[in-house]
Amino acid sequence: MALNRRHPAALFAVLVVGLGTTGAAYAAVSAQTAPKAAVRTETQVEQGKQLFLEGCSSCHGLAAQGGSDGPSLIGVGSAAVDFQVSTGRMPLAAPGVQAMPKTPSYNEAETAALAAFVATLAPGPAIPTEEMLNTSNAEVALGGELFRTNCAQCHGANGVGGALSQGRVAPSLMGSDAKTIYEAMVSGPQSMPVFANSTLSIEDKQGIIRYIQELQKNESPGGFSLGRLGPVTEGLFIFIAGLGALIIAAVWIGAKAK
């Protein structure tokens, strides 16, 4: 009888609690490994260099020349640094196929200093100005066409992201601000190709950003959006909830009345 005293779900519950605790503890510890602000020096570039040497050089090399653990940062420009650091992708929480966004490890001033330092290494795409990100006069229809031509294949027609190969993903754009989107286009982070201003003009980019902003405003007039992923989640939902309800109804209809 001792065996029966344990609830059938007990083992499952222990597993869930154990794995959850371990995962949370790991995430908490690993996210904190990024070094905090260092001594402030006279100029932004010097401060950036200081931060770089402390926090980035172990992977990207002392001269940002890159190595086996991280790519060269020479010529990536301030846009790339701002994108990676301000979204929390860098510094990496753990090595993997793709850096994922998390709480940023550096504050705004530190991020700006890092970007300023990396921009001095070689010319590269710069952080966009407020004016470049002003989408109030952008052509949203053109932006939509450009989005469907250049972005939708990976980020999805609704901009909610999608899977790539070998565990990589195109992230959702639903929480991205104009600066982040712009910087991603000009710097081509990780798997994403580069869409330089020479081939996709600033006006085109403003159109795309405006289109994404309009997508972000979209309500779901039908209620559950189910991630807006289309037939995958919708099919899964109706398969489980719809067929489940039908099975329960069938069992009830077939059961003998007492």
């Binding site: 031509t149 190969s165 580069v194 020479s198 309500e219 779901s220 007492k258």
Partner: protein, 347 residues
């Protein structure tokens, strides 16, 4: 004889364990347990009330439906926990009408389960063959008919009939052949040709090779596409001629489909998957892999567009490119192979 003869008794002697008609043993029936409503008039009245309540609620729902349809403007939004912001009118009429139908159904089943006669019967199936006499009769009448028709003796009739039947499918073959026109060379040709400029898709601007950054991707089409589309009034040429242009470090290029088909690391490939023709432009610039979203076929653009994963059987066709005098990308020639999925005549 498969009808129930004894609506309340033990039809076909089921209780004896033998079916009277077939003689096959049937499983023993469990002893009948009367329902509460059968023995307790109070329970019966309760069940009756429950069924009537459901039917009554259904009527209320229909009234609520009409009220909601008339009273709630179809522009008003309402926020429902979990579900989110939805159109109040749609939710109200859907909910009331759906519930009205559901309540009738639930009420009917509840009624049948609790109050309608509760008997357990065995219904035997009759044998699945016709009786022997019938079978013999059919056989003999068929034989008599065959003999009377003279099919065996009148050879000329028999042979001419067989001939006519043999020729009967010919019109079908002719009509099938006429379903065309056959695609001819259209599956093999695109509008790419020597000297045609590559232009950006959607904005139709010529592309300077020097403008493409390392790791860059451009979705491109031939310069004359819009003209041709206008002329042909369809999107067929776009479906065949769409390409992607990428730039990688020339040192990363392992192989190409032809010598010097790139221009300083700028490569052009068909955008149409060789598996089933999906537009394939999920280019991952670090691995130079091109992924098709439909069935995950993956092509390595740094290595002749070879298939590295997935169901595609052929590599992605490469377009040979170079630059004109002003540095704009042009095609060296058309594709040297059909683009897109395989087809019957391709061999």
């Amino acid at each position: 004889m498969n009808e129930l003869e004894h609506p309340t008794g033990d039809p076909y002697g089921a209780k004896d364990g033998k079916d009277l008609v077939s003689g096959i043993t049937v499983f023993p029936m469990e002893p009948h347990v009367p329902r509460k409503a059968d023995i307790d008039p109070k329970a019966a009245r309760r069940a009756e009330r429950q069924v009537a309540t459901m039917f009554g609620l259904s009527s209320l729902m229909i009234i609520a439906f009409v009220v909601a349809f008339v009273k709630i403007p179809n522009t008003s939004l309402i926020s429902i926990p979990i579900i989110g912001v939805v159109n109040a009118n749609h939710i109200a009429i859907g909910f009331t009408f759906g519930l009205a139908i559901l309540l009738i159904g639930i009420g009917a089943i509840h009624w049948a389960k609790k109050l309608m006669p509760d008997e357990e019967v065995v219904q035997a199936r009759h044998a699945l063959t016709s009786p022997d006499e019938e079978r013999k009769e059919v056989e003999s009448s068929f034989k008599r008919g065959a003999a009377e028709s003279g099919f065996k003796e009148r050879k000329i009739i028999r042979r001419s009939l067989l001939g006519a039947l043999a020729l009967f499918p010919v019109p079908l073959v002719v009509l099938l052949r006429d379903l065309g026109p056959m695609p001819g060379t259209r599956l093999r040709e695109t509008i790419w040709d020597k000297g045609i400029h590559l232009v950006t898709d959607a904005t139709y601007k010529k592309i300077k090779a020097s403008d493409i950054p390392l790791g860059g991707l451009i979705n491109a089409v031939p310069e004359n596409l819009l003209e041709v589309e206008h002329e042909e009034e369809n999107l067929n040429q776009r479906g065949k001629a769409s390409i992607i242009v990428v730039r990688m470090d020339p040192a990363d290029i392992v192989s190409q489909q032809g010598q010097d088909w790139d221009y300083q690391g700028v490569l052009a490939f068909s955008k149409i998957c060789t598996h089933l023709g999906c537009p394939t432009s999920l280019y991952q610039q670090r691995t130079h892999h091109l992924l098709c979203p439909c069935h995950q076929s993956t092509f390595d653009l740094s290595d002749s567009g070879n298939v590295v994963f997935g169901p595609a059987a052929r590599r992605m066709p490469q377009l040979a490119i170079t630059v004109d005098a002003e540095g704009y990308l042009v095609a060296q020639s058309g594709f040297n192979q059909p683009v897109g999925p395989s087809f019957w005549e391709r061999g």
